[in-house]
């Protein structure tokens, strides 16, 4: 069985946030809710100051703490490693948010309209979101199940994101993880993330 994962090359990422916008467009996520985003930081001092970027999303951990603490089974892990939330089962207890060290989850209280008092045609057409539940990236499973890449991977203009089967030794992501000394975020937490970073 496959174990889907992602590798992000930090040397190539230019911090354009195309992934952020593609994710927004794909999921019609509410205002203030980001399944994928790019962290930015200024490092160094003038004249050597520069901005650095770190794209983040749910790490779809091999040992997801969020799944274990969920009292309803709303958070589950598919056989292919994708960690999902069933919004119809979630009761909004937020224990998963307390358990996730990556801050990948957001509680949606229903106040997600982009323009107060007005719903755009896009929101009307695409937002079918439950209120009072916790949300996060789902690796675009509806696309992956059709053999497509997640929206953020598809959109990235610099092609710094790679998606594939980590268990397939011939896959691009497997090669990148093994050949490029890929790192995951907070490995000491022991959750074995499926999102890796290469580059410095």
């Amino acid at each position: 069985m496959a174990r889907y994962g992602m590798v992000i090359d930090l040397n190539i990422c230019i911090g354009c946030n195309a992934c952020t916008m593609a994710c927004k467009a794909e999921h019609a996520s509410p205002s203030g809710v980001f399944f994928a985003k790019v962290l930015e930081k200024e490092v160094g001092k003038f004249p050597a100051a520069r901005r650095v970027f770190l794209p983040v999303l749910c790490n779809h951990c091999e040992k997801p703490a969020c799944r274990d603490v969920c009292p309803t089974g709303a958070t589950s892990k598919r056989e292919d490693g994708v960690v999902l939330i069933d919004y119809d089962l979630c009761i909004g207890c937020r224990s998963c948010i307390e358990a996730c060290p990556y801050g990948s989850r957001t509680f949606y209280d229903g106040n997600g309209a982009y323009f107060e008092g007005h719903t755009t045609l896009f929101e009307t057409a695409k937002q079918t979101l439950s209120e009072g539940v916790v949300m996060k990236c789902n690796f675009c499973v509806h696309r992956v199940d059709q053999g497509l890449d997640p929206a953020c991977v598809q959109t990235c203009p610099t092609e710094c994101r790679f998606f594939g089967d980590l268990d397939d030794p011939k896959s691009r992501v497997s090669h990148l993880v093994s050949d490029k000394k890929a790192r995951s975020l907070l490995p000491d937490k022991g959750l074995e993330p499926s999102v890796f970073y290469i580059g410095s």
């Binding site: 703490a65 603490v69 309803t72 207890c93 937020r94 224990s95 358990a99 439950s130 907070l186 970073y197």
Partner: protein
């Protein structure tokens, strides 16, 4: 420095769980503690009061849910979730405690061997075990969190047990003039409180001592509690008003007979309850994510 390390820059406080959860931790523990002690002293009305306090806390917990109408789904994952297990523990206390209370209040306290007597004994035993579990399970909810190191402590279930019993007995002391039924031995209850307060103090200091050598976020939590913005509440409220002042008062004024005055005992109980609530408040509010991404 690696790019990822550039972003591991600090800590941030948890903000998801607020006063509803905090008040549930307090009332749930106190209610279960009161129910447990009522079984020990054989006081049916006090047991009923404990169940009411527990139910009130549970209502607040339900109100905290994003989708409270789906609360029943929380019973579905006891194999891994302590919240799910806690739902079963609360349900067991309410059902068994309610049954036990009903059997006694309606004069069905027949001797063992009769149906009513056997039902009462089973309900008492299961209710007592479930009450202990209600008092400790919230510690297990917090302890395994990989995100908040300050909560990663085996002490929490034990501290929560001690504090729950402390609060349960304090509610019993405060309500004693109004409770019908057998007269309470307040001197015995006050002695028990002194032992429990010492236990809470030792456990609390042990937890802080161990966490001070832990992860960055745990050390920040301790800094906030001992030297930061929560220090006045923690040192003054939890440790001072909640534990030290009642203990010191008993040590110095206990022999004078002042303790026999109910008003004095009630003030000490109120101080401990105040400290207990602050303890729950600060445990939740001082939880820090490690590190900020």
């Amino acid at each position: 420095m690696n790019r990822i390390d550039e972003f591991l820059i600090g800590v941030k406080p948890q903000r998801e769980w607020g006063w509803l959860v905090i008040t549930y931790l307090f009332l749930g523990g106190a209610g279960a503690g009161l129910f447990l002690i009522s079984l020990y002293i054989d006081h049916t009305v006090a047991g009923a009061l404990g169940l009411l306090v527990l139910l009130l806390g549970t209502v607040l917990l339900l109100l905290d849910l994003g989708r409270p109408e789906r609360f029943w789904r929380a019973f579905f994952h006891p194999q891994s979730s302590w919240i799910s297990r806690g739902c079963f523990f609360i349900a067991l206390v309410v059902v068994c405690g309610g049954l036990e209370t009903a059997v006694r209040l309606f004069g069905l306290g027949a001797p063992l061997g009769t149906v009513a007597g056997t039902v009462s004994l089973v309900a008492r035993s299961v209710g007592a075990a479930a009450a202990i579990l209600v008092m400790v399970y919230t510690g297990f909810v917090l302890a395994p969190s990989p995100a908040i190191p300050f909560w990663n402590s085996a002490f929490f279930p034990i501290i929560f047990f001690a504090y729950s019993l402390l609060a349960g007995i304090d509610i019993l002391i405060l309500s004693s003039p109004l409770l019908p039924g057998p007269t309470l031995d307040l001197a015995f209850l006050e002695r028990a409180q002194n032992y429990l307060a010492v236990a809470c103090l030792i456990l609390l200091l042990s937890h802080l001592s161990i966490m001070s050598g832990s992860a960055v976020a745990a050390r920040e939590s301790i800094r906030l509690l001992t030297r930061g913005k929560w220090a006045p509440l923690f040192l003054g409220g939890v440790v001072g008003a909640g534990l030290i002042i009642p203990l010191v008062f008993v040590a110095f004024a206990g022999q004078s007979g002042l303790q026999a005055v109910f008003a004095v005992t009630a003030v000490l109980a109120l101080l401990r309850l105040f400290g207990d609530y602050l303890f729950r408040f600060l445990v939740i509010r001082a939880g820090m994510y490690d590190p900020l991404l």
